[in-house]
């Protein structure tokens, strides 16, 4: 596979991850599965961002000593070769957001399980009638 194909299939994977996540959130009955769904959606978005940063044939956006010494002051050559680095930084932020949400949701799950002795949404929301 060449670069652009990799990118294409990466986007498809990301879309599938998000769709599976939405499916889990809406149709699954188990709370843990719903939480996994939320995380899958987050991971799908992360994959979209990572793939946006991908440049066919690009290098890692860390400047080597050779490139640094080659062009003091202006780093034209490095910038031409390097991957787009902004999306990677955004991904790092979103990973932490996902981890934080996961921690809180798992904590709530423990509490709900202690009270209802069940993880089924059907059981937990029994008091609210449909």
């Amino acid at each position: 596979m060449n670069g652009s194909e990799v990118q294409f299939w990466s986007f498809v994977t990301a879309a599938l991850l998000m769709i599976i996540g939405i499916y889990a959130i809406i149709f699954m009955d188990n709370i843990i599965k719903k939480i996994i769904g939320v995380m899958l959606i987050g991971d799908g978005v992360n994959l979209v961002l990572i793939t946006e940063g991908f440049k066919p044939g690009g290098i890692v956006p860390i400047i080597s000593e050779k490139l640094y010494n080659q062009s003091p002051g202006i780093f034209q050559e490095f910038a031409d070769q390097a991957s787009y680095s902004l999306p990677f930084a955004l991904v790092l932020t979103n990973i932490v957001i996902g981890a934080s949400t996961l921690a809180v949701l798992l904590g709530i799950t423990i509490k709900l399980y202690q009270h209802y002795n069940s993880l089924s949404v059907h059981e937990i929301f029994k008091e609210e009638k449909i």
């Binding site: 955004l90 932020t93 957001i97």
Partner: protein, 493 residues
């Protein structure tokens, strides 16, 4: 123009949040520091001068051909805008938050530092969302706000709060991911994150299907953050699960975020009529369903929660019209309604604190015991229902005016219907709480306390009423500023 005080509106609450958390357990210190911090939070937006703040001092730079952007210059880093609208919204938030914090400090036997720190975090997050001119920064702080609000509800304890927070976080996760995917699509297409830059690159690009997908995704996020139609049950559940004095803060935050995000949406995609149509339609649905549901409730807190949601729908109608008059009236109504609904929530807070319940079947006959409270609440009901001398009248009238000017008189009728329904619902709550004969004698034990309202909260109520009357009598300074913001949104920032 650079103003040093602009970042402090976010940084100071963040520092206070950490310090309050570290102080947790030392009661006196927490009380003292809480009051001090709220004073600073209240004062900073007043003294901050208008302008922009560039984080990290990174300026605007010329673009290069390799960027493949059609702009002549781009912003390098995060930027904050601070103008009259931002000042008004941040100050409003700080004021309502001060009331919430003071009521917590003065009415609770044991002050919780962690709880106060959560309030501080949500203040910081909402202020950041209001001022940010960077779409990703906005998203980050929206997530902080979501988790902090969930924490405020969780802190009440009890399984209903956990359930409300669970729903809020799961759908918040969906909405957050939706906003972020929209941002990712915009970033991939245009390569910039600054809202002004995006606005410039987007002009003339509104037929690109990827951009339209991004619009849809961000609108879904907006619906969640402002508690409109599919998410109205989640928001109202949050309001009713929180303590009523904090519910006042939560609904203020919701309305502020509604306005802030809607301004971003209109600035970026204002020319796209399908987006405003979606905003308008779902807002109308929220208004009617919210007020109908409010009428059917058997609990005062849930009644107010649904009323707050339906009023958010009213704000959404103004903004969704997409005309100058509509946007101006919507922004104006958001401010007015945040004040008025806070007033009502705080009156219910008294009933909740003293009677330990807000269910109608266990309340009744409180007029004799709490005449002052009844008087203030009836004023609050009149304000929310849009009765002339008060502020909500000025904005609801302008919203109806805007619907007719925009060529949708039916919407004007719907707004009137919704307002009537709100009035009926609130009067029903008032009747069942204050006028109906008390049959259960539940609240009779500590009844005499009603007359001696805690001073801080009493003063709070007076200040809120004065604010409502003041804005109601002199609406023009506020409305004119809102109108100029609307003009700026439509014509150019």
């Amino acid at each position: 123009m650079n103003s040093e005080l602009i970042p402090l509106m976010v940084i100071f609450p963040l520092i206070s949040a950490i310090l309050l958390n570290l102080m947790h357990g030392k009661d006196k210190v927490v009380r003292a520091y809480g009051i001090l911090a709220m004073l600073v939070v209240l004062v900073v937006p007043i003294f901050a001068s208008y302008g922009n703040h560039l984080f990290g001092a990174h300026p605007v730079v010329d673009t290069l051909p390799q960027l493949k952007i059609s702009l002549s210059e781009v912003n390098l880093a995060i930027e904050y805008n601070f103008a009259f609208l931002q000042k008004a919204l941040v100050f409003l938030l700080a004021a309502i938050a001060t009331f919430a914090v003071l009521s917590h400090i003065s009415n609770e036997k044991k002050v919780s530092g962690v709880y106060l720190s959560m309030i501080m975090l949500s203040i910081a997050a909402v202020s950041a969302v209001v001022m940010a001119n960077d779409i990703f920064n906005m998203f980050v702080f929206l997530e902080i706000m979501t988790i902090a609000q969930a924490a405020i509800v969780i802190a009440v304890g009890g399984v209903s709060g956990y359930k409300a927070a669970f729903k809020y976080l799961v759908f918040g996760g969906v909405a957050g991911a939706s906003i972020l995917l929209g941002i990712a699509l915009l970033l991939g297409t245009f390569g910039v994150l600054n809202i002004s830059d995006l606005h410039n690159s987007l002009s003339g690009n509104m037929t690109n299907p990827i951009v339209l997908t991004a619009v849809g995704l961000i609108v879904i996020g907006w619906l969640f953050e402002s508690g409109l139609f599919p998410f109205h049950t989640i928001k109202s559940n949050m309001y009713s699960a929180a303590k009523p004095d904090i519910a006042a803060l939560l609904q203020t935050q919701t309305k502020i975020v509604l306005v802030a995000l809607a301004i971003v949406l209109l600035r970026l995609f204002g020319g796209y009529s399908n987006m405003t149509a979606v905003m308008l339609g779902l807002s109308v649905g929220t208004l009617i369903i919210g007020s109908v549901m409010a009428l059917l409730q058997t609990d005062f807190r849930r009644l107010l929660a649904f009323t707050a949601v339906s009023q958010a729908g009213l704000v959404g109608i103004g903004i969704g019209l997409g005309t100058r008059l509509g946007i101006a009236a919507g922004i104006f109504h958001a401010i007015n309604d945040a004040i008025a609904m806070s007033l009502l929530f705080i009156t219910v807070y008294f009933i909740y604190e003293r009677a330990k319940t807000t269910e109608f079947k266990r309340l009744g006959g409180l007029l004799v015991q709490a005449p002052k409270l009844a008087f203030i609440q009836i004023i609050g009901i009149l304000i929310v229902s849009g009765v002339p001398p008060f502020n909500a009248y000025q904005s609801e009238f302008r919203i109806i005016d805007a619907t007719i000017q925009a060529g949708h008189p039916e919407l004007g009728v719907l707004v009137i219907l919704g307002t009537i329904l709100t009035f009926v619902a609130l009067m029903k709550g008032f009747y069942l709480t204050f006028l109906k004969e008390n049959t259960t004698k539940i609240a009779l034990g500590k009844v005499h306390i009603y007359n001696g309202l805690p001073t801080v909260t009493y003063v709070t109520l007076i200040i809120l009423v004065i604010a409502c009357v003041g804005i109601g009598l002199f609406p023009m300074p506020f409305y004119d500023r809102a109108y100029s913001v609307a003009l700026k949104i439509l014509v150019g920032w």
